[in-house]
C-alpha cells in the first residue's frame, strides 16, 4: 500500500494541472459551442513564446514571462475567434471543427519549421526541489506549484464568469444568444472575448506543462486529448467538474503507470476516458444538454 501513496499524490497534483489544461477548451465548448481542436497547440505556442522571451531577456523566469505571454495569447485567441471562427457560427459542428483542425496542423508544422523537432523544457530551479514527508513520500515542488496555479486559475475564472459584467455577458450569450442580443450584447464580440480568455488560460497551462515536462512542436494534440478527457469526465462548462475531471484523469494515469508499467501511463488514462465516454457521454457531473 505504501508503494501506492506516491503515485496517488502525484496523480492528485497532476489533476490540478490537467484541470488547467482543460478549462479553456471547456469554456469555449460550453459558450460558443465550437470545438477548438487547436487548443493544445496554442498551449504549446505559449510554451515556445515563453522560451524565446526567457532566452532573449535573461532577467525573466517562466513565471514572470507570463506577464507578457498572457496578453499576447489573449490577443491571438481574440483574433482567431473574431476573424476566423466567428464566420462559421450557426453552420453546425463540422465546419469550425475542420477549420480548427487546419489551424492545429498549421501551428504544429509552423513550430517545426521555426524551432526544429528538438525536445524543449522551460527550466526553473523549482524543478529539482521536493518536500520530504516520509522516506517513501516526497512532494515534488514543481508539481505542487503547477497544481496550485491550476486550481487558482479555475477559481479565478469562476469568479470572473459569475461576478463581473463581462463574465455575465459571456454566460448570457451562451445561455440564449437571441435574448442576449436583445439586451444589447454584441454576441460575436463576446465570443471573441471568451476565446481570448480561454487562450490566455491555455497560455498559463502552456507554461505549467512546459516547466513540468518536455515538449515538442507535436505535443499539442496530446494535451488536447487530456483537455477533452477533462471535459468528458467533468461535463461542459462546470468548474467543479473540470477539477474532478482533471483529478480522475491524473489519478488514472499515474496509478495505471504504477500497475502496468510506465509505458502504459497514457494508455490507462485513455481507457478510463473511453469507458466513461461510452457510459456517460454527457460527463459525470454534466446534465443532458438541450438539442441545438
Amino acid at each position: 500500500m505504501e508503494d501506492y501513496l506516491q503515485p496517488i499524490l502525484n496523480g492528485i497534483l497532476f489533476g490540478g494541472l490537467y484541470a488547467a489544461v482543460g478549462v479553456g477548451l471547456s469554456m469555449i465548448f460550453g459558450i460558443v459551442k465550437q470545438v477548438n481542436l487547436a487548443h493544445g497547440d496554442l498551449m504549446i505556442v505559449a510554451s515556445y513564446l515563453t522560451m524565446i522571451l526567457i532566452s532573449g531577456m535573461s532577467f525573466l523566469t517562466p513565471w514572470t514571462a507570463l506577464i507578457l505571454v498572457i496578453p499576447a495569447m489573449f490577443l491571438v485567441g481574440f483574433l482567431i475567434q473574431k476573424y476566423l471562427l466567428n464566420r462559421f457560427l450557426g453552420l453546425g459542428m463540422e465546419p469550425p471543427l475542420i477549420v480548427a483542425f487546419g489551424l492545429s496542423i498549421i501551428i504544429q508544422n509552423g513550430l517545426l519549421v521555426l524551432f526544429s523537432p528538438d525536445a524543449r523544457l522551460l527550466e526553473t530551479p523549482l524543478a529539482i526541489m521536493s518536500f520530504r514527508i516520509t522516506d517513501l513520500l516526497y512532494i515534488p515542488v514543481i508539481h505542487l506549484v503547477a497544481c496550485m496555479v491550476g486550481v487558482a486559475l479555475i477559481i479565478l475564472l469562476h469568479f470572473f464568469l459569475s461576478k463581473t459584467f463581462l463574465g455575465r455577458a459571456i454566460r448570457a450569450a451562451s445561455d440564449d444568444e437571441n435574448a442576449a442580443q436583445l439586451m444589447g450584447i454584441d454576441t460575436r464580440n463576446i465570443y471573441a472575448w471568451a476565446m481570448g480568455i480561454a487562450i490566455a488560460s491555455a497560455a498559463v497551462a502552456g507554461t505549467l506543462v512546459g516547466t513540468t515536462s518536455i515538449f515538442y512542436p507535436h505535443t499539442g494534440p496530446q494535451y488536447l486529448i487530456i483537455a477533452f478527457g477533462v471535459i468528458i469526465i467533468g461535463g461542459v462548462g462546470s468548474m467543479a467538474g473540470t477539477l474532478l475531471g482533471g483529478l480522475v484523469l491524473g489519478l488514472s494515469q499515474l496509478l495505471g503507470g504504477k500497475i502496468f508499467g510506465p509505458g502504459y501511463q497514457l494508455l490507462s488514462g485513455y481507457i478510463i476516458l473511453l469507458v466513461l465516454l461510452a457510459i456517460r457521454p454527457q460527463g459525470l457531473l454534466g446534465r443532458a444538454r438541450r438539442a441545438g
Binding site: 453552420l91 475542420i98 483542425f101 487546419g102 496542423i105 508544422n109 468528458i232 485513455y270 476516458l273 461510452a278
Partner: protein, 314 residues
C-alpha cells in the same frame, strides 16, 4: 438526357483505358504517383462515406489503416500467408475491430464521436508500441512485399481506387444510400419514417472500416515498413479530411480531385514535409472560407455538371 449519359459513359471508358495503359507507356515515377493517388482516393472515399454522407466525422480512420497494415505484416511474416490473403485478412480484422468498438463509440455523437475515434487510435498506437509480438516501437519490415513489381502494385492500386468509386456509387444508389441522404438532411424526420439511424450508420462504418483496412494493406505493400506511431498516427486522417474537403465533402468526385491535388502537393514539396502539411492546413481553411463545398461541390452547384451522380433520372 440519354445523350449526356452516353457522353459520360464514353468519357469514363476513355479515362479507364488511358489509366489502364499507363503501365505500358508511363515511366516508373508516373506509375508511383498515380498509384498513390488511387490509394489516397480510395481512403478519401471511405472517409467521405462516413463524414460526408453518414454525418460521422471520424478522426480515427488510422485505426483501420494501422490494423490493415499490421495484419498484413503479421500474417505474411509470421504465418507465411500469401500476400493477397494477408491484405484481405487486414480488411477482416479491421471490420471485426470496428464491430467490437461500435457499441461504445456509437453512443457518442457529433464531436464526441470524432474525439472518441481519435482516442481509440492513440490507444492502439501506445498498445502496439509496447507489444513485443509486433516488435514494439521498432516496427516490422514486410519483406515478401518486395517481390511485387511496380506494375503489379499499380494495377492493384487501380483496382482498389476504381473499386472504391464503384462501391461508394453503388452504396449511394442503394436503399442504404437513400436512407443516408435522408438522415443527413433531417435525422428526426427520417427516423419517424422508419429509417433506422443507428443500423444504417453502423453499416456505413463497417463498410468503411473493411475497405480502409484493405486499402491500407495495399498501401503498405508499397511502403514495406510499418511502425506503430506512423501507422496509427493522426497524419493519415489529416490527409483524408483535406482530400475530402478540398475536393468537396459529400460528393463522389470530390475525393478523386482531392487525392490528385494532395499527391501532387506532397511530391512537389517532398523536400519540405512540414511545409507541405502547413500548406495543406492553409488551403483547407481557405477552401472552408471561400468555397465550403469544395472544388467539385461548387462546380456541381454552379454548372449543374456531375460525372458520377448517384441521382436518379426520370
Amino acid at each position: 438526357m440519354t445523350n449526356i449519359r452516353k457522353i459520360r459513359m464514353a468519357l469514363l471508358v476513355l479515362v479507364g483505358l488511358v489509366l489502364g495503359s499507363v503501365s505500358i507507356f508511363g515511366d516508373q515515377y508516373t506509375k508511383l504517383l498515380l498509384m498513390l493517388a488511387f490509394l489516397y482516393m480510395a481512403l478519401g472515399q471511405f472517409w467521405n462515406l462516413l463524414g460526408g454522407y453518414a454525418g460521422l466525422v471520424s478522426l480515427g480512420q488510422q485505426i483501420f489503416i494501422g490494423l490493415g497494415g499490421y495484419t498484413l505484416a503479421v500474417t505474411v511474416l509470421y504465418y507465411g500467408f500469401p500476400i493477397w490473403l494477408g491484405v484481405l485478412t487486414g480488411g477482416v480484422v479491421a471490420v471485426l475491430f470496428a464491430l467490437v468498438i461500435s457499441p461504445a463509440i456509437f453512443r457518442m455523437s457529433g464531436v464526441y464521436f470524432s474525439i472518441g475515434t481519435w482516442v481509440v487510435a492513440e490507444s492502439l498506437a501506445i498498445w502496439f508500441s509496447n507489444w513485443e509480438y509486433v516488435e514494439m516501437g521498432q516496427g516490422l519490415f514486410i519483406k515478401p512485399a518486395k517481390q511485387l513489381s511496380v506494375s503489379q502494385l499499380y494495377y492493384l492500386a487501380m483496382l482498389v481506387g476504381v473499386g472504391s468509386v464503384a462501391l461508394v456509387y453503388w452504396v449511394m444508389r442503394s436503399k442504404l444510400g437513400l436512407a443516408l441522404m435522408a438522415m443527413r438532411n433531417d435525422p428526426g424526420a427520417s427516423e419517424t419514417c422508419g429509417v433506422s439511424v443507428f443500423r444504417n450508420k453502423l453499416y456505413c462504418y463497417l463498410i468503411s472500416s473493411f475497405c480502409t483496412g484493405l486499402t491500407a494493406g495495399v498501401l503498405y505493400l508499397n511502403m514495406v515498413f510499418i511502425q506503430p506511431y506512423k501507422a496509427f498516427g493522426i497524419d493519415w486522417t489529416v490527409a483524408l479530411v483535406f482530400i475530402a474537403i478540398i475536393g468537396g465533402i459529400g460528393t463522389i468526385e470530390g475525393p478523386i480531385i482531392g487525392a490528385v491535388i494532395y499527391v501532387l502537393l506532397q511530391q512537389y514539396l517532398s523536400d519540405y514535409a512540414s511545409v507541405s502539411m502547413l500548406a495543406l492546413g492553409v488551403v483547407a481553411i481557405i477552401i472552408m472560407l471561400i468555397v465550403p463545398k469544395g472544388i467539385m461541390g461548387t462546380i456541381q452547384e454552379k454548372l449543374g455538371f456531375e460525372i458520377l451522380s448517384p441521382r436518379r433520372y426520370l
